[in-house]
């Protein structure tokens, strides 16, 4: 019992089907209180569906979930009083002004007319939206809309806040602002469950991360643990000549004893190494084979590499120029 009460979220074998699509396919999570927990995965992995189950919007088809010790199905009503959700799609009313949105929510939560007005003003001030208070939300920039959306979740401070892809589509400055807000929230004791398809975001914010792919949690731990689980490091090799790549690939594979990954860059190779000593051996082997190397480094794997190692595919598809392809935010089933 004691152990249970320490957990903000506890799920076991959570399943949600949309027709034949197993959107969530046996998710087990254990999230401690007062932390940022990151749910990391590509589009369509089941992140949003999981959050919607935990926020009482969807009933699971199998398995169980407790949030703040309350069952998401049986105690849904009590649970709603203690959580807030900032959805992937703007969960504010675009036709109303920023101030009206917050007043509406405050009134729904039981604030008097006067208190609702004051709470709305305070929040707008705190989130840097005072100047836009009287403007319809449809005129807001993406960053302003996001901040209002988060402020709308904090009219009454929740014990747990769900943030579904809070920075998708934001410019770097707005993204940093959202990150600041999240850090301050947890400093004040609110637990945050964050979904993201950005590895850097999970790495920067989350105390623990669950990597989710095709409805299943495929790895869970701190960012450091996830990186360590892939191996002690990654060797990045840059060749002087692209013609040497095939020979270098064979040479590396033999010396390291692990598969070598050939990037889009015709002169680059990467490989995971289980122990650092192998990297030195690899460099020597390349040199013995007469392959000229312009750059050779041994580093901690990035979460991108972790994701690749775990799933066998990249987290975010890249186009020919290496830029992130704008993946359409098609709902994860059922929308």
């Amino acid at each position: 019992m004691l152990q249970q009460s320490d957990l903000a979220i506890e799920t076991s074998g959570l399943v949600k089907l949309f027709g034949d699509n197993r959107a969530v396919d046996g998710v087990d999570l254990a999230v401690g209180r007062g932390r940022v927990f990151g749910l990391l995965g590509p589009n369509g992995a089941g992140k949003t569906t999981t959050v919607r189950i935990l926020a009482t919007l969807l009933k699971p088809d199998a398995g169980s979930a407790k949030v703040l010790g309350l069952d998401v199905v049986d105690d849904a009503d009590a649970l709603r009083g203690r959580i807030s959700l900032t959805g992937q799609f703007a969960s504010v009313d675009e036709d109303l002004t920023g101030a009206e949105n917050l007043k509406l929510l405050a009134r729904l939560l039981g604030f008097s007319r006067r208190d609702a007005k004051r709470r709305a003003e305070d929040l707008l001030g705190g989130f840097g939206l005072a100047d836009a208070a009287g403007r319809q939300v449809k005129t807001y920039s993406g960053g302003m809309r996001r901040r209002l959306d988060i402020a709308a979740s904090l009219v009454v401070t929740p014990d747990l806040l769900f943030l579904d892809e809070p920075t998708t589509g934001l410019d770097p400055r707005s993204r940093n602002q959202v990150w600041d807000i999240i850090r301050m929230l947890t400093a004040n004791g609110t637990t945050v469950l964050l979904t993201t398809q950005y590895l850097q975001e999970a790495d920067t914010l989350a105390d623990r991360i669950a990597v989710i792919d095709r409805g299943k949690v495929i790895a869970e731990g701190t960012s450091a643990e996830l990186k360590a689980s892939v191996g002690s490091g990654v060797v990045h090799v840059r060749l002087a000549s692209a013609e040497d790549r095939e020979a270098a690939e064979r040479c590396l594979a033999e010396a390291i004893g692990a598969p070598v990954h050939a990037d889009g860059d015709p002169r680059a190779l990467t490989a995971q190494v289980s122990e650092p000593g192998r990297a030195a051996a690899a460099l020597a082997a390349l040199s013995d084979a007469g392959i000229v190397v312009s750059d050779f480094s041994l580093g901690q794997p990035s979460l991108d590499e972790v994701f690749f190692a775990l799933t066998g595919h990249a987290a975010i598809e890249k186009d020919a120029k290496g830029e992130e392809v704008e993946t359409t935010q098609e709902g994860e089933g059922g929308r």
Partner: protein, 276 residues
Amino acid sequence: MTMADDGLDTAGLSRVLVTAVRPERPGAVANALTFGWRALLKLKHMPEQLFDVIVTPVMFTVMFTFLFGGALAGSPDQYLQFLLPGILVQTVTFTTIYTGFSLNTDLSKGIYDRFRSMPIWRPSPIVGAMTGDTIRYTISSLIVVVIGLILGFRPETGVAGVIAAIVLLNLYGFGISWLFVVLALIVRSPSVVMTMSWLVLMPVTFLSNIFVDPATMPGWLQAIVAVNPVALLVTAVREIMAGTATLGDVALALIGPAVVTALVAPVAMVLYGRKT
């Protein structure tokens, strides 16, 4: 003011992040009224929503009075006394479609996820929207009455009769709009809600006593008109304005909306709960 380098006022922000206040949870009626207020705010920001509510009744009243008046009752003037209560019912009936139309648009937006994850009375977003829509019924009814008065309509019971009729029309509009709420919850796009609603409402309003006395209709049609809720309401509104209404007339007019509410509202709430 402490500014983070991204321009966020962190000191100001930290002051508003924590509220010790957790107000008492308001009751169902308070929640619904707040959503009614939301509907009014939307009208304030988008008054063009009222265009249909204003123009359609003007068009119907003027058109039918002069089109049919001479042929059906000898003169437009005479016909207007008969027609106007019917046009009121037709106008409110058509206006109920907008409940489904706007709800369907609204439901597809992310804000309903927020409402559904909040500790509020579950049906309140829908009941509140329906309550807000009574403003539309009232406005369109008043417009019909004003046009009628200009054209020469004179209700026997004066202002009191008009008020009583509008109250009855609102109850009726609220009750039958549950049908369109269900439609809005089932159907994918607002335009489909619109088309399907018209398909139902056109026959229901024309197979009634709005335009003509059913005495000249064939027997089978008279039987339909006799149980048509639209016709029952028209009778009640006519009697109220003529000062000859009985409690029975009013009760008969309210049976339809009451039955619809009792049967369809629970279905609507189940569908709303399942909406993903």
